[in-house]
């Protein structure tokens, strides 16, 4: 079938209009000779950005605008196109304008036919903005990491420095009590007790702040850990509390190896189990059930108790520093234990959440990346 004159005319107009679009696109398009590498054509977008006129470009090759490439390196790069191994090459480099200024580019290079000859066509995207954003991102991340490190160091140093004056208060109050209690009346002894009690609580706070500040992604060493080994150690260390509280702790039936930091996980379970015993219901022996299952990519661990429970409105807040529940008013605590648990879970790339109702026990669920 041959085209009619009008069909030909339509095709020609369409071709012209397509050519117009290509020529006026602000993305850079170049065509260069396969043998001499000299530029045959560059569209408007190319001419505007590169700064040369088409006439000037006809005398140049890609090597003249690519400061990162030598002739050999360029030959090497286009080999796969030359011997038809690949259809398109995608790479990043830098282009140099006529005025010597440079800009980062992403190049799509193909081999095609143009006016019956083999040519290379390059479609080029100026990625200056992307590169700038990337650099800004790297810079911001560096700043954040730096600030985080300094905060950690600050918390650790502060907690450490606070210990000395506390030691003075605590030990000398102890001396006072030991050597002068005959000289004090009941009121005096009571004052002394408040001082001693206050300093004991402060010691606990400082210890926990120090503990919290030391859990840091960078300084944590991960290894293969037997979960039941951690739990058995926790049970042993909490022996007195377990006996006093008449608590029953059930460990998981399956013996699992997980990847994590031993002392962090020890701390997590210690805090959780200790909490479950502490916040038990009046008249009810605390029962704590620990189980573990595998889900895609993670181990999911559940610690379930029959204690006083947590009202849903506090589910998020209990993991914040210093937060304590109003229902737990008479029970001693620093409000840092769960914050430490959350930090440990974070460092193990997992999540932690609660299922509970006030008055009917709590279920702590957390995941640890495999």
């Amino acid at each position: 079938m041959t085209n009619t004159v009008s069909e030909n005319k339509t095709l020609q107009i369409e071709n012209n209009e397509l050519a117009y679009i290509i020529h006026n696109s602000l993305n850079e398009i170049y065509i260069f000779d396969i043998n001499t590498l000299k530029f045959i054509y560059a569209n408007k977008g190319a001419l505007i950005n590169i700064g040369y006129s088409l006439f000037e470009l006809n005398l140049l090759t890609p090597l003249d605008i690519k400061p990162e490439f030598t002739a050999e390196k360029f030959e090497e790069l286009i080999q796969p196109l030359k011997n038809k191994e690949k259809e398109i090459l995608l790479f990043n480099t830098v282009h140099k304008r006529k005025d010597e200024s440079c800009y980062p580019v992403e190049i799509h290079l193909q081999r095609m036919k143009y006016k019956n000859a083999d040519v290379y066509t390059a479609i080029i995207i100026d990625i200056s903005e992307q590169v700038e954003f990337e650099n800004k991102l790297i810079e911001t991340t560096k700043t954040l990491v730096d600030i985080n490190e300094r905060l950690h160091h600050f918390a650790a140093t502060t907690a450490h420095d606070l210990q000395e004056p506390l030691r003075m208060v605590s030990t000398f109050s102890g001396l006072l009590e030991m050597n002068y209690n005959a000289n004090l009346d009941d009121k005096g002894l009571q004052y002394l007790n408040y001082i001693l009690d206050g300093s004991k609580r402060m010691k606990l706070l400082i210890d926990e702040i120090l503990e919290y500040s030391l859990i840091d992604r960078k300084s944590i060493k991960m290894e293969s850990i037997n979960l039941n080994k951690v739990l058995t150690l926790v049970k042993t260390d909490l022996n007195e509390q377990i006996k006093d509280g008449n608590a029953l702790i059930t460990l998981p039936t399956n013996d699992i190896e997980i990847r994590g930091n031993f002392s962090c996980l020890y701390r997590l379970f210690l805090n959780m189990i200790s909490n479950s015993i502490k916040y038990s219901k009046e008249g009810l022996n605390p029962e704590i059930d620990i189980s573990i299952t595998a889900i895609p990519d993670y181990w999911m661990i559940t610690v379930q108790d029959n204690g006083i429970g947590i009202s849903p409105e506090y589910f998020d807040r209990v993991f914040d520093m210093y937060v304590r529940l109003p229902t737990a008013d008479e029970i001693k605590g620093t409000g840092i234990g769960l914050a430490i648990c959350k930090k440990v879970v974070d460092v193990h790339n997992g999540k932690i959440w609660i299922e509970s109702q006030e008055g009917s026990g709590s279920k702590f669920i957390f995941t640890i990346k495999m």
Binding site: Q163, L166, S170, T171
Partner: protein, 148 residues
């Protein structure tokens, strides 16, 4: 157990000096306690005792790490480098619980490393244990070398 005679305390905190002495007084009557408040003074004192033909050489050293002039680590280093002195039991008694300090002290042959506790009861226990330790070492040693 041989009763300890000469004890050297190297500590700059007044409160801790008082407490340590209180705790030592509990246990001993016949003792000679010398307190020095910085590392340089300790090193000078010890060098002197050696030249004075072991005059008042301590039989137990309670050593803090964070000291002015020269640190506890430098005192340990000094003791370690002198054959006449490196037999003296040194109990490091410091507020620092940093692993770095602990490792450093042991690598310089500290006999043991104790972290100052916050409660009086613990404090007393530690000082008494340090004493016991020093007494034990003394009773095992050649009395001619260490006794005045």
């Amino acid at each position: 157990m041989t009763e300890l005679l000469n004890i050297l305390i190297v500590e700059d905190n007044e409160g801790d000096i008082f407490l340590i002495k209180e705790c030592l007084n509990d246990k001993l009557t016949n003792r000679n306690i010398i307190t020095l408040k910085n590392g340089a003074a300790a090193i000078d004192f010890l060098s002197e005792q050696v030249t004075l033909d072991y005059g008042m050489l301590p039989q137990l050293i309670l050593l803090d790490i964070n000291l002015p002039m020269k640190s506890g680590h430098e005192v340990l280093e000094f003791l370690n480098n002198h054959s006449e002195l490196n037999g003296i039991p040194v109990v490091v008694f410091t507020s620092s619980s940093s692993l770095l300090d602990i490792n450093k002290a042991y690598s310089r042959n500290a006999s043991c490393y104790l972290t100052k506790p916050l409660e009086l009861k613990e404090y007393k226990k530690m000082i008494h244990h340090a004493l016991k330790f020093g007494s034990y070492v003394l009773s095992q040693c050649n009395p001619n070398v260490l006794n005045a």
